[in-house]
Structure formats: C-alpha cells, structure tokens
Symmetry: C2
Subunit: 465 residues, 2 copies
Amino acid sequence: MRLLAIGGSDAGISAALLARELDPGADVAVIVSDEFPNFSICGIPYYVSGEVPDWRNLAHRTATDLEATGMRLHLGTTAERIDADAHEVAVRDAHGTMTAMPYDALVVGTGARPVRPPIRGLDFLGPRDGVHVVHSMGDTFEVMSSLTAHDARRAVIIGAGYLGIEMAEALVLRGLEVTQVEQLAEVLPTVDPELGRQVAAELRERGVDVVTRTAVQLITRTDAAETARLRVEGASSDGTPFQRDADIVLVFAGVKPDVALAEAAGAKLGVRGAIDVDRTMRTNLSDVFAAGDCVVTHHRLLGTTYVPLGTTAHKQGRIAGENALGGTREFAGSLGTQVVKVFDMAAARTGLRDHEAVSAGFEPVTIGAEADDHKAYYPGAHRIAMRWTGDRRTGRLLGLQLFGHRHAEVAKRVDIAATAIFNEMTVDAISELDLSYTPPLGSPWDALQIGAQAWVKAVAGTAKR
Amino acid sequence: MRLLAIGGSDAGISAALLARELDPGADVAVIVSDEFPNFSICGIPYYVSGEVPDWRNLAHRTATDLEATGMRLHLGTTAERIDADAHEVAVRDAHGTMTAMPYDALVVGTGARPVRPPIRGLDFLGPRDGVHVVHSMGDTFEVMSSLTAHDARRAVIIGAGYLGIEMAEALVLRGLEVTQVEQLAEVLPTVDPELGRQVAAELRERGVDVVTRTAVQLITRTDAAETARLRVEGASSDGTPFQRDADIVLVFAGVKPDVALAEAAGAKLGVRGAIDVDRTMRTNLSDVFAAGDCVVTHHRLLGTTYVPLGTTAHKQGRIAGENALGGTREFAGSLGTQVVKVFDMAAARTGLRDHEAVSAGFEPVTIGAEADDHKAYYPGAHRIAMRWTGDRRTGRLLGLQLFGHRHAEVAKRVDIAATAIFNEMTVDAISELDLSYTPPLGSPWDALQIGAQAWVKAVAGTAKR
C-alpha cells in the first residue's frame, strides 16, 4: 500500500500520520513544496509579535518527528502533474529533477492561496517594497525582513478578519503604529456588527487606528527622505478620502482554494471552485482523496459550502488517511467554529448567524444577551457579550457568538454550544445541561444558560413558547 | 393560585422566581428560616478568605430584588408542620407567633444538614470553643468570630472534599497555618486518586499540611496559656497517631437531606433518606413538590441516586415552580458535574468514574491522558491531566475528570464533556466535534480530542475498535 500526500500542511500531514498509525506496513510519503512541513500557520502572528521567539517552534511536529513515524517527506518538491489513470504524480525536486511517483491512494492537500485584492500597485509592489500578501512561512520571513531591515515604524493592514486583527496586535506589540483598514462596516465581519464594534473598541483601546467602510485603491512607493516609503490611498463608502503613509503594508483579503493541480487532472470542482469531495473525502477521480482548504466543506447546517479552517483540515486529513487505507469513515461536518484573541479579549462563534440561517431555510430569531463569566462577587469577573440564534419553528439552537475576556472561557463556552448544535439541541435544552459551577469559575446557571433563557423568553414574547 | 415555598436557598427561590415569571398573577410566598434568602452558600470560603469583603455580596439577589418580582418573603420564619390534606403549612415567625399558611401548591426546599462525624468532643464543643461544623451563613459568622476574636493562627480542617479544600485555601489566604485531615487515601475523593494526588500536591505547595488516611477521633480543649486552645487527635489507617494543636477546627463531613418536615407530613423517602420525587419534582403528597438537596437525584447514567449540588437545586426548583403552576416539565437529570478551584488550579468532573460505571452496569475502560490547554509555543500553556471513562461495549463516553490551571478552561472543558454525555455521544465522536481554535486558546485538536483519541487507541489495543 503506497499512500502519497501532496501538501505538507494540516490535511496532508494528518492523512499521512493516521495512515502510519493504522497500518505500520503502509508506504507513506508526503510532497512538501517548501521546507516547512506541519507548520502552525495560525501561529505566524505570534512569531511576528515576538511572543514566539524562534519560528521553528511553530512546527506542530519537526521533520524528524514526522519521519520517526515512518513517513517519508519530500521537502522543496513540487507536484507538477497528477496522472489519475496511471496512478502517478510527476514531481520536481529542489534540484529541478523530475520523477514519477506511483501511488495506490493519493491525498491532495494543496490548501488555499491568498486573494490579491484589486488594488493598484499591489500588482507590481512586493516584499522588497514592504508590501506583503501574507500566507506562508516564506511570506512571514519576508515580513520579518521588512520589519527589521527597514526599521518599520508605521504599518497599514488591509483587512480586519481573523488574521488581519491578529497581525495588528502583533505589530502593536512590536511597537509599530498600526492602521487597520476594513472595507465592510465593522471589523471581524464573521461576527455580528454588535460584537464587531466591541472588537474594534478593544483594538482602538490598544492604539490601533481602525478605519472601517473604507476601500484601499492604491499603494505607491514614495521613497521620500525622512518619511515612510509607502503611501496607501483609498476612500470610504461615503467618499471621504483615506490616506496613510507606511513603512510596511500587509494584505489579508481572504483565501481561495488552490486547485490547479487537481483540476488539471480532471477533478470535479464545486462551491467557490473548491475540489468537490464527498463526506469520505473522495474526489471523482479513482483513489484520489482531497482534504483541507482546497476542498468544499460539508457543513452540518448549511450543506456543502466553503469554510477553510485548520481544525477542519486536520479532521478531513485524518478521514482521508483512514479511507485511503480502505476505511469507510465520513466527515461529520463543520459548524464553522472559530475563535480569535484580540489583545486581552476573545471573540468566538459557532454555527449560523441570522442571515446565514435565513438562507439555509430556517426561521431564525437572534438576540443579544450578557452575563458574567463567574459570580460577580468573586474578584475578576468579566462580562460576556452573546448573540444567540435559534430557529423559531423548532426551537433549535443554530448559532452562538461570544465576546469576552480571554480568561472568561469564551473559547470553550462556544465549544459547549458547538457540541449542542452538533447534537441538534434546542436553545431551551441548554438550560437542562448539567454544567460545572464554582464561584470563581462559573455561576449556578452558566452564562450560556442565562443567554439561552433570554432567547426562550424573547421568543415566547413574540410567539407561543 | 397560591404557591408556597419552604426554604430560601436555591430550590425554593428558583421555584418562586419562575412562578412569578410565568404567572404575574400568582400569589407566591417563601418561608425562610434565617435572614439570608438566596445566598450563595458556595461563596462562603471566599468571604472567609477576605476575597469577598462584604458578606452581603454573597446574595445572588437581595431581599429587595426578590420582593421586586412580586414574591413575598417570610424571613426568620420556621415551617413547623405541613398539613397536606388541608393544604396548609403551620409556620412560626420570628416572634414565636404561629400562623397557618394555606397553599394551592407547595414546594419543599428544606435542603440538607451537615453530617456530624462520630468524633469525641464534637458532641459538646461548639463555635464558642472554636469548633465549627460549617453549612449556613449563621455558621459562617461564627467562624469569622472565632478567627478574629481569638486571633486564630492554627487551623485543623477535618475533611478534604470540595468545601474542605476551599476552606483550607481561604484560611491560608488569611495567613493561618492549616492542617487538612482526610480519612480516605487521597484528598478530593470525588475524583480518581491520580488527580487527587495532584490536588494534594497543589495544597502542599501552598503550605497546607495535608494528612490523608487519617481519622480524627478526639477534639479537646486545652486552654493552656500561650498555646492553642484545641487539640485534635486521631490515627492513620496504619495506626500512626495523629495530633495537632489548633485555635480553630472546621468540620466538613458531607451532608444529609433535611427531610423531617416532609417526612412528618407523610412524604415518601427514597435513596439516602431523601424525599422521593419523580422527574416532575412531585412527591407522593398531592400538590406537594420538592426540590434541591432534600430530594433524591435523577441521574442520567445512574438512575435515582443522591447528588446534592446547587446547580441541580436551581434546575429542580425551576421545574417545581413551572409544574406547580400546571406545567409538565421534567428534570432532565444530573451528571454530577462539579468543579473546584484549588489555589491556581482547578479540578473538575462530570459523569461516572470507573467504579461508578461498573455498578451502573457498564463495562468501563478508564485511561489517563495529558494535553496542553493551548499550543505550547504560545506563552502560558498549561498541561491538563485527564481521566477518560468510556464503555467498552458501546464506545459511549461515560465520564471525564480534569485537573489543570484555573486559566486552562478546565471548567468549560468538562462542560463540553457534560454536553456530550447528555447527548449520549461516543468517545470516538468527540473527535468529530467542531471546536474552536486559536494558538493562545486551543489546539487544532482540542485537549479533549487528544484525550478522546488516546482512549479510542487504548480500547482498540485491548479489543476490536
């Protein structure tokens, strides 16, 4: 049994690890285009901030650890072509030598590529100019080089999603003046604006110059003496001009699935151009599995969609690895659960927001609520802001969004809701859960139960209970 | 509709609050034997420690708040007799005046009484001697009086359950030298000894003199000049004598249901002598409900048992309140979920331990596992020690115990498991949960999923997967 994985990130490595675990006789190899297999890409902001002093620590496992499991790693090697009929992948190694690698089962984990928004200047300015579209470890080293070589003092970050916000924090921690520009009405547009506003307030509190409803249109080099070498220009939705000088510009405009290799081999594409896979992670090509940011996502509430997340890539990779060896496991589906730390605060979500629930055919009711993370009489209690979305017809919990202190157990509280949604619980039943309580760490009714009760009361007030 | 509740703690007040919420026309009254309705008894150690400077803050709601909902409170009033046929309760007020209070529905929330272990001296020594069996706000004031009036420097705490441990911490924070004596092999006997040992280590690290396998047999007054006024004597299980001098002795030996009133009225008793109720919280007496520490507990895995917990009392009280008004709600059942903070650490459990699972007819496999609360490369990662119990036959998750740093989201992680057990998930399915991840607050596979995978692997190693 020869299992070949293309891609050294979460999906490919997870598949290879599980295959080695289940069948110590399996011949498992992973093609890795760079020198950084199994790196925690989500950790990049913490290397940039200086909180993780050595980038090597960002590896989930070292190459040595990986090879100790019995898998082979082909670093600096690019998969050029998949011949699905011949069950072969043509690869080019670091020296340019082409080889054909045969497989019995193939796992495509080519991931995603960053979107390059249509900003004039972005097409020809690059890392050497201090303009960075950040996605990989390689990109990160170039950012570090820009920061240090040019003694950057002023940064503009384009985009205020998870990574953009984390990078704003990282650069503030490095002592830079940071402007964060978001085209939409509020930062962190993956949560409701009511929470996004609180995220923006935390960013501003920490010195980030947050500019929303503003599109960047132009980046130019100025190279004037005694000033920054870049100028970023644009306009807000009401036409107000936007302009900042900067030593470094970072762009975070989302990702799109990297499917060129699979597509050329005949793989069927689906939502958002991602590789179409079933819940066993099989593509339409015989013995070719795919997993991670390059494939469509089976969502437990939305059906087939595209939600690229590292957690999902790990799960899908493991399933691809098991099924490549003859298993029959199915991916249970995503709920789009996410959390981001914003300085001392954290924002998290799981399931659907109101408008997403509408488009999925539900009749959602969304309410805001607040509760303390633990009994207020015990020192250090923090308020948690909540957004509860449930279905009016069935009472089913559809989604939860939280914003609170990083020590308010916001991440694991959203996970309680994720577990409840996974099991199709009603909002009302959240109050039936036997959750832990001690005054320094909770309340007799957990914050979640207080929120759930507020939802039930609100719905009872507008219809029958 | 006249709803009468006996007991001003969690169950009685919860019943009264929900009744007022559901039916603003309901005549709701609560008989409270002391002056402290709706107090957070779990907060007592934090008042004793000084972390909560004003005992009044321990009230979940003030009497004024409660009365603002439209309920009437009869403070300092004792229910002397329930006449179930006449639907009347004979009460004695603070002046000794007897009155008959009629009801349409009655909720008995008489709670529990502390067990007084068979220690010689405990029968005639009391608060004035510095010997305290602590359960109520009244007891707490007496403890505070002993601590301050006698300038106590040395304390012996008998019992190392939740409250005993919390009180040890409280007295250490007050600067006392504390000896904690536990009859069983390890402290916190509600978790496995593997975790109990770690709890004991944390207590010792903070200066608590932890003495296990040791029964206290005698407490005497010494009243010698320049020394403590009490002597505590006993022996370990191997016969080694135990002796400590102390200025104050606190006894925490568990509780038993306070059922005298209901029993005298003809209420049927059940497990551990608690009032027998069905899942609607009805007793065998017409229109008499009971809830909280005085009733048997419906446990989702064990059936009918007795697990007195504040969280359960709140839930049961709410159900009694709804059903007293004609509702049909059933208590969904307890999982015995608990958490205790021990200085900077926290220990939590939900569901069954191995021996409990055996007696409930399961075929349990219990394993230990460890994982970080978040990616180790991000500063401040903490190890979480886990004990996973699942059923070998069905793969079902039966119980989880955790011990880790108080900022390692141990409480809410055990609640994720409680939610999973509530929904009868398998251990294997824990890996399917879409849990949140960001390096400062988690891992792509949450600590729980790493533990669940270790359990699955261990069981696969001993049987078919």
